[in-house]
């Protein structure tokens, strides 16, 4: 997993890294530079020490040479011998005078001259007060053989209290010898103030001028063998007050830095001299490293500036770059989420500003394109929806397949026609409900649609999911893409089973009707033919019989024609239903009256069970008459002589119930379900009454059901039948037809 880093973070990290690098380099540079400068300062100080030593030794050497020079002075030598030999104070005074006036003035560095006898006692001096003092401490081994002319001894710095001053001084001693014998007769000692010597150290040396000027606080001082700093600043009269750091002296020229006795951190260089002295030059670190300090301050300043600059850059970048980028990113995200109204508000005359306006333009274009597309899609979808609704809703079965016949689409009618759910149809092939036709049929169909690329039309028998067969008028057409490549087929089927049935039943109706019409016609024809027998063999009885047959057949034909007309009007739904309040009992009695002859002939017993409270009911009297007539005629026709017929009229709930019970033939059980069919006649009825046309009950049932009622029966062969008719008390439903039915 990589952590996602923001530009801001990367930028700040980068700048911080640069900052750290710069500061690091600076610090390293600073440290190395500091060490380097420190070394340089030390080297300079060492140089100064060397120069100082030369100056110091020069100064001392000058005094020594002067002293040696004085020791060769004849007057001094003679006077010394005279004092030693005679002890004459005048000579001592003269010598003292000579020393003060002629010698002392020659060298400013020398502040006093003493002449010692071999025992070390001052016998003459530039200051008469010194005579008689012991001066042996300034001369070592004054008796030594080596202490000869030209040699001078330089003492260490010593505290002296002579010549009226108390100071720290150096004593330079040279031997005095007899002019003639060369024998050592004493010594001449010159005194130089240590302060003067030390000031020699401060002598402006041309070489070192630059250095001296650079280090204002530089201090050069001499340390004697005892570790005291030889500098007038530290003299308290003849007393040395300041002891130098012993370690410094011992380490000689190795020390670089230390905190001096005054508590100041200094860089110093120490030089150990043969004389046992140590020359020390020191500069306070602050001053010595002023440049590096300046550099450090500069660096700190620069670093601060740099940090501020970087912070400023970060701030500017954040404000001018990162924030706009974030705003752009946010806007882009919003745009991606489909908010086409999002705009950025970055006002800058740079790439980001350009990007922002580009973004806004793009967003605008996208919005327009999207709106256009959305509109198009809406239109197309609406069109498609309409189209789909149309195809889905059409009563014809529509199926679209790919070029291998696999179903891609099936409409609702396809589900209804085949009985398969769309989920079952899609992905299957039309053979799912096909395969009922001979193989040649399908071969021809495929040949037409696939090879000839033409539409195929035909009548096809298919099988529903529930196993029922149906007949369809099928149109199968190949579908081509724009390049003319076949990519599928569309099959439209119209279930014409019902149509076929209707056609068949119509054909059958015509067939049977014409058959039924031909029968009485045949009878009429033949009997007329027999009547008109030219041979004259027809007896009057026969003639009567023939006429009767002709009359019956004619009547039968009229009845049949009326019935056929009624059936036709019933089937087409064009018959008139014109209601008015009808007293059912009266209507029934009217029908009975019409049948009274037949009833009497057969001696039938009629039982009328009418509910007297039955109100008048809205009914079409003609229709009601047809219904009652058919039921009663059947009862009379099929009831044997002396039988009984019971007629019942009653209220049953919201209905009026008509019951006609006979004691007749009854309907054979196996034919009961067909009794209401057009032209159907039960076998026993046909045998007994060949004249019937089989349309009566069909008409009754059709009329009753059309009026909102129902009809049913209970029957047992050879026992009798009871027909029930139920009509609503509210009356018959009024139909739309305008054709009256024939009675």
């Amino acid at each position: 997993m990589f952590k996602r880093l923001t530009i801001g973070f990367k930028l700040i990290s980068g700048l911080a890294a640069i900052l750290i690098l710069v500061i690091g380099v600076s610090v390293i540079t600073f440290i190395t530079q500091r060490d380097r400068i420190s070394d340089a300062v030390f080297d300079e100080l060492t140089l100064i020490n060397n120069a100082s030593r030369v100056a110091l030794l020069d100064a001392i050497d000058g005094v020594r040479r002067r002293t040696v020079d004085f020791s060769s002075d004849g007057f001094i030598r003679d006077a010394t011998r005279g004092i030693i030999e005679t002890g004459d104070p005048k000579i001592a005074v003269a010598l003292g005078e000579h020393l003060r006036k002629n010698k002392l003035v020659l060298d400013q560095a020398i502040y006093g001259l003493n002449v010692l006898d071999p025992s070390g006692t001052v016998i003459a001096s530039s200051d008469s007060h010194e005579i008689g003092k012991d001066g042996s401490q300034y001369v070592q081994n004054i008796e030594s053989e080596d202490f000869t002319y030209g040699v001078a001894q330089v003492s260490d710095f010593v505290s002296v209290d002579n010549f009226g001053i108390s100071t720290v001084a150096l004593a330079v001693a040279a031997p005095l010898t007899d002019k003639t014998t060369g024998k050592r007769i004493g010594a001449l000692v010159s005194f130089i103030r240590a302060g003067d010597i030390a000031s020699a150290l401060k002598t402006k040396n041309a070489l070192l001028t630059g250095i001296n000027e650079r280090y204002v606080s530089m201090d050069i001082f001499l340390v004697n063998k005892d570790g005291y700093v030889i500098d007038e600043r530290y003299f308290d009269g003849a007393r040395l007050t300041r002891q130098a750091d012993i370690a410094t002296i011992l380490q000689c020229s190795q020390q670089k830095k230390y905190v001096n006795i005054q508590g100041v951190e200094v860089i110093n260089a120490a030089l150990c001299m043969d004389t046992g002295w140590t020359l020390v030059t020191e500069v306070p670190v602050t001053e010595a490293l002023q440049s590096i300090e300046d550099m450090r301050n500069g660096l700190v300043f620069l670093a601060t500036i740099l940090v501020l600059l970087i912070l400023m850059i970060i701030y500017i970048i954040d404000k001018k770059v990162i924030n706009p980028i974030k705003a752009l990113a946010y806007a882009a995200q919003k745009l991606g989420e489909g908010d086409f109204d999002v705009r950025t508000h970055i006002i800058a005359s740079d790439e980001l500003g350009d990007l922002s306006s580009e973004f806004n333009e793009t967003a605008e274009k996208l919005k327009n394109a999207h709106d256009l597309l959305a509109k198009k899609i809406r239109e197309v979808t609406e069109d498609f929806e309409k189209f789909k609704l149309a195809v889905d809703g059409t009563s014809d079965h529509v199926v679209i397949t790919d070029k291998d016949g696999v179903i891609l689409y099936a409409n609702r009618a396809a589900e209804e026609t085949t009985g398969y759910a769309r989920s079952e149809l899609i992905g299957s092939r039309p053979s799912l409900w096909g395969k009922q036709m001979p193989t040649e049929f399908y071969r021809e169909m495929w040949h037409t649609i696939k090879e000839q690329k033409k539409s195929f039309n035909g009548e096809i028998t298919n099988k529903r999911k529930d196993g029922r067969l149906y007949i369809a008028e099928a149109h199968v057409s190949p579908l081509f893409d724009e390049q003319g490549n076949l990519y599928g087929f569309v099959g439209v089927e119209r279930d014409i089973t019902r149509q076929k049935e209707i056609d068949k039943s119509k054909t059958e109706f015509v067939s049977i009707a014409s058959h039924q019409l031909r029968t009485p016609l045949t009878i009429i024809n033949w009997y007329i033919e027999m009547l008109s027998d030219t041979q004259g063999t027809v007896s009057p009885e026969k003639q009567k019989q023939y006429f009767e047959e002709i009359t019956r057949a004619s009547k039968r034909m009229i009845e049949l024609v009326n019935a056929l007309l009624n059936v036709s009007r019933i089937d087409m739904g064009t018959f008139m239903v014109d209601v008015e309040p009808v007293n059912f009992a009266n209507a029934m009695d009217d029908v009975l009256r019409d049948l009274s002859i037949q009833i009497a002939q057969k001696n039938l017993k009629i039982l009328r069970r009418y509910d007297s409270s039955l109100p008048s009911i809205n009914a079409d009297p003609k229709l009601l008459r047809i219904i009652m007539q058919n039921l009663l005629t059947n009862a009379v026709k099929y009831t044997p002589n002396n039988g009984a017929i019971t007629i019942e009229l009653s209220k049953k709930g919201a209905d009026v119930l008509i019951g006609v019970t006979d004691t007749g033939l009854g309907i054979p059980a196996h034919q009961q379900d067909k009794i209401f069919s057009k032209f159907f006649r039960a076998d026993n009825a046909r045998e007994r009454e060949p004249d019937g046309n089989g349309l009566g009950l069909y008409i009754v049932k059709s009329l009753i059901e059309h009026s909102g009622g129902s009809v049913w029966f209970i029957s047992e062969e050879n026992k009798g039948t009871v027909f029930y008719v139920k009509l609503p008390l509210t009356g018959m439903l009024v139909g739309k037809g305008d054709k009256p039915l024939a009675v």
């Binding site: 014409s514 058959h515 029968t519 016609l521 033949w526 009997y527 076998d683 046909r686």
Partner: protein, 132 residues
């Protein structure tokens, strides 16, 4: 000529329409044939035919219990009946669906009653019986 031959010939009429049955029977008898055998439905007709082996059967189609076509089909299953002479007399037209099986029962002739005079029917009977 006719009078000599026909009395030996027995004809079975299978017809449910009584007036037609009577007319045919009467005419046949008048022509000189013996009184025809009569049946009023296919069942009865088959029974009489197989029992009496008539020379000719006049068979109606639409009848109760058993229609004429079924009756003749049954008759053709019988050794005698297979070659029995049958004239179908009906009021169905040949184009009617119910008659599509008529050829299968190999009738000697088929006639549409309403289109025929009864005298011509008798002539046809004689023709089928090879009497003329």
């Amino acid at each position: 000529m006719n009078q000599k031959v026909v009395p030996d010939i027995r004809i079975l009429i299978v017809e449910d329409e009584e007036p037609i049955l009577s007319a045919l029977a009467e005419k046949i008898q008048q022509t000189g044939f013996a009184e025809p055998l009569k049946a009023r439905n296919g069942e009865e007709g088959l029974e009489i035919a197989l029992k009496e082996h008539p020379d000719l059967l006049l068979v109606d189609i639409l009848m109760p219990k058993m229609d004429g076509i079924t009756m003749v089909k049954e008759l053709r299953k019988d050794e005698w009946g297979k070659s029995a002479k049958v004239i179908i007399l009906t009021n169905f037209d040949t184009t009617d669906a119910i008659l599509k099986d008529v050829a299968l029962i190999e009738p000697s002739f088929y006639l549409l009653k309403s289109n025929w005079n009864i005298d011509d029917v008798v002539v046809k009977i004689k023709e089928v019986l090879e009497l003329i």
